[in-house]
């Protein structure tokens, strides 16, 4: 969801990415091409149309690093690679080091026990204003709120991203609750006019597999988005005393023409007497007009 404004000298459209509890704004044409699912330690890399431009590294640690040693090690590594380290840099709480073609910044967030590192790659000349805007925007965020690959989602606390399957025009993210009783699959698919020949209801049924509908599919209109909702139950393989309760929704966003879907599968006992358990609160939204399903 590109946005504009608030970024001073750089008059490009900007976009905010929320990933693994970290918020980061960057030019909208920088796309996340590499990502880690690990919340403790990982990295993401963003590229413009010609080359990688930014690497984000994170590590959850209980104490700040020994900065002097960290920068000294980094200087040594640069020298070993034949690169001359440049000046030390600072912006607010961020500390950095310039080198030929790159700048590296690091900051520790004590309240979150989070060490962040940003590495900018400058194919031409360094853009200090752009760099400053990215640094200002990079901070801890809600761990259960994500925004990436054109989707904006909110999951219950402590849910883990178990799988990310990102292909051209086809992004799918699978989450699990801590007890693995619930599975959530969010997807966003492009080129809909090329491959979608069924109705959304038929497409959803194919995604779910063999199941028994609990109630007839309902179509709900909101802000120009026609959302098909479906509730069903499904047998649990190898465990006949259990069943899966499924709640699914799909729609085509009129803004970007992509198909969004959200499928929740919750494993429950067949013999539960007190009626169906409530499904967790989950939100997936596609654009600023539609607040999500």
């Amino acid at each position: 969801m590109p946005s504009d404004g608030g970024h001073g000298m750089t008059a490009l459209p900007w976009e905010e990415t929320l990933w693994n509890g970290i918020a980061l704004s960057h030019p909208a044409d920088w796309e996340m091409l590499q990502f880690s699912r690990n919340t403790t330690q990982g990295r993401c890399a963003f590229a413009d149309r010609h080359s990688f431009r930014l690497e984000l590294n994170w590590r959850r640690v209980s104490a700040p690093p020994d900065w002097d040693r960290m920068w000294s090690d980094y200087r040594s590594r640069l020298l070993q690679d034949g690169t001359t380290p440049g000046d030390s840099l600072s912006q607010g709480e961020w500390q950095g080091l310039a080198a030929t073609g790159t700048t590296r910044w690091s900051r520790y967030f004590p309240d979150h026990g989070l060490l962040l590192e940003l590495v900018f790659i400058w194919p031409d000349t360094r853009d200090s204003a752009l760099e400053s805007n990215v640094l200002e925007s990079c901070m801890p965020a809600l761990p259960n709120h994500g925004r990436a690959f054109g989707m904006d989602w909110l999951t219950p606390d402590h849910w883990q991203l178990a799988k990310g399957d990102i292909k051209p025009a086809q992004a799918s993210l699978t989450f699990h609750d801590p007890g693995h009783a619930c599975e959530l699959r969010l997807s966003r698919q492009g080129l809909v006019s090329v491959w979608l020949t069924d109705s959304l209801h038929e497409w959803l049924m194919k995604q779910i597999g063999t199941c028994t509908p609990i109630s007839p599919a309902a179509i709900h209109d909101e802000a120009g988005h026609s959302v098909t909702r479906l509730e069903a139950s499904q047998a649990e393989p190898m465990r006949p005393w259990l069943m899966r309760r499924i709640a699914a929704a799909a729609w085509i966003c009129p803004t970007d023409g992509r198909l969004y879907s959200r499928i929740i599968r919750k494993t429950v006992s067949r013999f539960r007497q007190a009626g169906p358990e409530p499904l967790p609160l989950i939100r997936l939204s596609c654009c600023s007009e539609f607040h999500g399903e």
């Binding site: 091409l33 590229a47 010609h50 790159t102 590495v119 194919p123 051209p168 025009a169 492009g190 090329v194």
Partner: protein, 126 residues
């Protein structure tokens, strides 16, 4: 630093050309078919050719996206411009279109219907 400069830029600068020996036809539904001649393999001689028939031509039927890519790969523009055209037409991001188009072009090159001309003096990143 774990990031290394990727080599996609050189692919973007390459110019795709149709195989001059290929023939293209478009049916009433807009489906594009490309026909290209096969080279007769040396080993395909009697008695093997009595069993395995030689196909003098190969027909490649392109899906709508492939048909659009094929029409754009006429030697007049680099892959980057083809990617931009596909991204605009199908509302994709640049890298989504790049991945789809370069994969498709590679498959057409492997099938012998497309050739890529890579500029000698291209300013590829290190």
């Amino acid at each position: 630093m774990k990031i290394t400069h990727d080599t996609w830029t050189s692919m973007l600068q390459a110019v795709p050309h149709h195989n001059r020996a290929s023939r293209t036809s478009t049916d009433s539904d807009g489906q594009v078919t490309v026909v290209v001649k096969n080279i007769r393999p040396r080993y395909l001689r009697p008695p093997l050719s009595w069993i395995v028939a030689y196909q003098p031509e190969r027909r490649i039927i392109l899906d709508p996206l492939g048909g659009f890519v094929w029409t754009q790969c006429d030697g007049s523009r680099p892959v980057e411009a083809v990617v931009d055209q596909v991204a605009t037409r199908y509302a994709l991001t640049f890298h989504e279109a790049r991945a789809a188009v370069t994969q498709y072009i590679q498959s057409l090159v492997q099938r012998g219907v497309l050739a890529l001309v890579i500029p000698q003096t291209g300013a590829c990143p290190p």
